[in-house]
């Protein structure tokens, strides 16, 4: 223990602050990524709710009936598949237009 400690104190303090910076940087980036992921999910939930409410609940009654419930589930799945199709097509289009330049 003493062998390791005595020789490396001076050199580890700068290496230490560099690794602390590194660690903090990682924390900040993770937090940013996390918040954006939450924002993205929130947006998806709100769009799906809007669209599927519009599609499936024509006459709101005291509770969701079995048919509405089924419709919402189907609609949710269809919407997410649609999101993926649009996402793929949009990214293809972006790549095409940046290749032309």
């Amino acid at each position: 223990m003493a062998l390791f400690g005595s020789t490396s104190i001076g050199s580890t303090s700068s290496a230490n602050s560099a690794s602390k910076s590194q660690q903090l940087k990682q924390e900040i980036q993770d937090q940013i990524a996390q918040e954006l992921a939450v924002a993205n999910a929130t947006e998806l939930v709100s769009k799906i709710t809007e669209n599927c409410f519009e599609k499936c609940i024509v006459n709101p009654s005291v509770a969701l009936n079995a048919q509405e419930d089924y419709c919402v589930n189907q609609c949710l799945e269809k919407y997410m598949r649609s999101w993926n199709v649009i996402s793929k097509a949009y990214i293809t289009r972006i790549q095409q237009s940046s290749a032309e330049k």
Binding site: S17, A18, K20, S21, Q22, L24, K25, E27, I28, Q29, Q31, I32, A33, Q34, L36, A39, N40, E43, L44, K47, E50, N51, C52, K55, C56, C71, N73, Q74, C75, L76, E77, K78, Y79, R81, S82, W83, V85, I86, S87, A89, Y90, I91, R93, I94
Partner: protein, 90 residues
């Protein structure tokens, strides 16, 4: 979620700051693209499912084609509008 202290932020070295700025920039552009995809999906889902009920959770080839066409024609329209406005300002 962990909060990051102010003093710790000030002690960040130059290269870490640079990395973070770069990271934010790339996440921002990713976010922009995602937001566009949200809006396009919203619009095209409405267009492609207008006047018919949702009967399945899957997408058949017609629906997939409708969505792809919807997106591409929207972007074509966008380009046309920009070009027309550029042309008229000259």
């Amino acid at each position: 979620m962990a909060t990051i202290s102010q003093t710790a932020l000030q002690n960040l070295d130059e290269s870490s700051r640079k990395d973070i700025m770069q990271f934010i920039e790339s996440e921002q552009s990713k976010s922009k693209v995602q937001l566009s995809i949200h809006n396009f999906t919203d619009m095209c889902f409405k267009k492609c499912n207008a006047n018919r009920p949702i009967t399945s959770g899957g997408l058949d080839s017609n629906e997939e084609q409708c969505l792809t066409n919807c997106l591409n024609r929207f972007l074509d329209t966008n380009i046309k509008v920009v070009q027309a406005l550029q042309g008229s300002s000259k």
